[in-house]
């Protein structure tokens, strides 16, 4: 076990993937000499050379389109999008090409492309640097979507994503890049849990708190705070947003009967809507109260000084927990 930041774990994952398979090539803006604006690819240019760590012109559609061409030739391109808000110029190539070519060709053309996206808010960044676009990709058939929440998972999932023969949109919570955790760099990939599984990060019995990415730690804090009040929360880190591991989710909901789903992304037609609709379909008779969402508001990501009023925090989670538990709380007040 090695203690690494999430950022360093991702770098280690890239390095290992590149060692494992010489068809793995990295593409992106500033990923070479600079090592990326978040330094995730630091050192890889020196180690693997400019044919495998490729600084690109400043054009996201071009980068992803080129990755498609490399995939046609048998490569496994790993694209770095510099910030979440800059993935949209590549949207057409992702949705119409990356996601569809395997299906169109009935599997004759594979698109083992990983698109890494430094992701989400909470870092006081400027406009367009704090987006949570995951729902767009979850809604897009043909893609897999991964969101990591800790160094160990980051290291392992990234290697799995790169090794996958399917395209993977890989979300890296920016605000955790410097968070540390133990990583087992030696554990064989084959022994790791498959990429599509959720993880119960804290077992509990009274209600299930489902989230992913940086909000997993907020959820854990909420669970601790709730424990002080005698409430036992089960916390699930989805890890994979497409597919969602509904077997694990449903098992938890059948146990607790009460659910809160949380994410930073805005609410309308977001991932939480999907999770709640699926839970309702599968576990209706087990539900003891309406599953609730705690999400960013349906506003464009606000300026930095206002982001704390946009992002779900401990209090908003606890408020929702109270409500699914039918406890008196901020909104229902004494009425409940």
């Amino acid at each position: 076990m090695t203690e690494l930041t999430l950022g360093k774990a991702l770098g280690a994952g890239l390095r290992q993937a590149m060692k494992d398979d010489e068809k793995v090539v990295l593409l992106g803006e500033d990923i070479g000499r600079l090592g990326g604006v978040f330094r995730i690819t630091d050192g890889l240019l020196d180690e693997f050379g400019a044919t495998r760590v490729i600084d690109t012109p400043l054009a996201e559609s071009g980068i992803v389109g080129m990755a498609v061409g490399l995939a046609f030739r048998g490569y496994r391109p790993v694209v770095e999008i510099q910030f979440d808000g800059f993935v949209y110029p590549a949207f057409d190539q992702i949705v119409s090409q990356v996601a569809k070519l395997h299906y169109r060709t009935q599997g004759r053309v594979r698109m083992p492309i990983t698109i890494r996206i430094p992701w989400a808010g909470g870092i006081g960044a400027a406009e367009h640097h704090s987006e949570s676009p995951e729902a767009y990709f979850v809604h897009t058939a043909g893609l897999r979507v991964i969101a990591v929440s800790n160094p160990e998972d980051a290291y392992r999932s990234l290697r799995q994503a790169i090794a996958s023969d399917d395209p993977v949109i890989f979300f890296e919570p920016k605000r955790l890049y410097h968070h540390k955790g133990e990583v087992d760099l030696e554990a064989p990939l084959a022994d790791a849990p498959p990429m599509g599984l959720a993880r119960v990060v804290r077992p509990g019995t009274d209600a299930t708190l489902i989230t992913y990415g940086a909000m997993v730690s907020t959820a854990l804090q909420a669970a601790e705070a709730a424990e002080d009040e005698g409430i036992s929360l089960e916390v699930i880190d989805l890890r994979s947003l497409s597919p969602v591991d509904y077997d694990s989710v449903a098992a938890s909901v059948r146990k607790t009967g009460r659910v809160v789903v949380a994410h930073e992304a805005s609410r309308e037609a977001g991932v939480a809507a999907e999770v709640i609709a699926s839970i309702t379909e599968r576990c209706f008779e087990y539900l003891e109260s309406a599953p609730l969402r705690v999400t960013g508001h349906d506003v464009p990501y606000p300026p930095a000084k206002l982001e704390k009023y946009h992002l779900p925090d401990l209090d908003r989670l606890l408020d929702a927990v109270d409500r699914v538990l039918d406890r008196p709380n901020s909104l229902t007040g004494a009425e409940a």
């Binding site: 992803v64 080129m66 061409g69 030739r73 004759r108 083992p112 023969d165 497409s242 597919p243 077997d247």
Partner: protein, 371 residues
């Protein structure tokens, strides 16, 4: 660098302003720049090119007929563009890889398409009409311009491996307005990737004349990106072949990308769903009929005494045979079973989709035995 303006293209004179070897009446003229690239093309090869173009036109006519008869959902005719497609595609080496748009029937023909390959996609049976790996041609691309970037990525792979291959992107005049096509030139130039861009300027993007996309010759854009370009008479199969050989040589020898604008004309509708009488004049069509690429080579061959009746008849018979096979393949196609709708979305199991598939299978099963 001083203020400068590229000369405005005179679209009526477009063809005359481009490189050629055969004039519209079939006369061979000297072209110091291109001649060397087709010095080896003898009468037999010219006849083969003629044969290709005749067969292609026949395939195209069969496609239109099959659509009119309800056998295809749509067809994108390439009549008028035979010289561009055959001339450039016959210059390819077997190991080269093509990224076409949707109108390159002649290119997939030249790459060895099977009879059913022409129609499988247009009939709505499969998402891709042909086997990309077998033909070394990517699936037809409908998203305008997207394939140009794929070609650049592929070419980057070629260059990193030092392979003796070239990637080729085909696209239309309308496509030149898309961001992707411009990004493709930029990336190709920065990486000196072995890619050849072939713009088939057929003067129309559906109802929009090329002047909506550019009031200046399209080939004039490439040099600004550091890419050498040639503007060639796209109805002159020899000039197209020569230009393509120049471009392929350039790319193959490590000098980076090259760009060809083939000036041609779409004689038919945009697709079988289109009605070109709404937007273009019969006179324009008439003028282009006189520049027909097949008639031109025929006149040339005849002037050489190299196209006899017998040869002519054999070519027609060959074309009819291909069309017949194509029709038979089309009519013989069987649609995949309902559950095939789920096939090939992912290379590895996806639990969400697997569940949907089995639910749908169970649902379908309830109809079994029903009338």
């Amino acid at each position: 660098m001083s203020p400068q303006i590229t000369p405005i293209a005179d679209t009526a004179q477009d063809l005359e302003l481009s490189e050629r070897i055969l004039t519209p009446d079939g006369t061979r003229i000297a072209n110091p720049q291109l001649d060397a690239y087709v010095a080896d093309v003898d009468a037999a090869q010219l006849r083969a090119l003629h044969r290709d173009m005749v067969i292609l036109r026949r395939i195209d006519a069969e496609g239109v007929a099959l659509q009119r008869q309800g056998q295809l959902g749509l067809w994108a005719p390439c009549q008028g563009q035979e010289a561009t497609q055959i001339g450039t595609a016959r210059a390819l080496a077997p190991q080269d890889y093509v990224f076409p748009s949707y109108r390159e029937t002649g290119v997939i023909y030249a790459r060895g398409a099977q009879p059913g390959d022409y129609v499988r996609m247009w009939r709505g049976e499969e998402g891709a009409g042909h086997d990309s790996t077998a033909l070394r041609v990517a699936p037809l691309q409908i998203i305008i311009g997207a394939q140009t970037l794929h070609a650049v990525g592929y070419a980057l792979g070629i260059s990193h491996e030092g392979a003796d291959e070239v990637a080729v992107a085909y696209f239309g005049d309308g496509a030149t307005s898309q961001g992707d096509v411009n990004e493709a030139m930029i990336f190709a130039s920065s990486y000196r990737a072995p890619v050849v861009f072939v713009c088939q300027n057929n003067h129309w993007a559906i109802s929009e004349p090329v002047s909506v996309q550019s009031q200046y010759p399209i080939a004039g854009r490439a040099p600004g990106f550091g890419i050498p370009s040639l503007r060639v008479d796209g109805n002159d199969v020899l000039a197209c072949m020569a230009a393509m050989r120049w471009a392929l040589d350039h790319a193959r020898s490590g000098k980076g990308p090259a760009y060809i604008e083939a000036v041609t004309y779409r004689m038919g509708p945009h697709t079988t769903a289109d009605d070109p009488t709404r937007y273009r004049q019969e006179g324009e069509l008439e003028a282009w009929r006189r520049r027909d690429p097949i008639a031109r080579l025929e006149a040339h061959l005849k002037s050489l005494g190299e196209l006899g009746e017998e040869q002519f008849a054999e070519t027609q018979a060959a074309a009819d045979a291909v069309a017949k096979e194509m029709r038979a393949a089309c009519l013989g196609m069987t649609t995949r079973p309902p559950l095939a709708v789920f096939d090939g979305v992912y290379a590895e199991p996806h639990t969400g989709l697997e569940r949907q598939r089995s639910e749908y299978a169970a649902y379908l099963a309830t109809f079994e035995g029903e009338a």
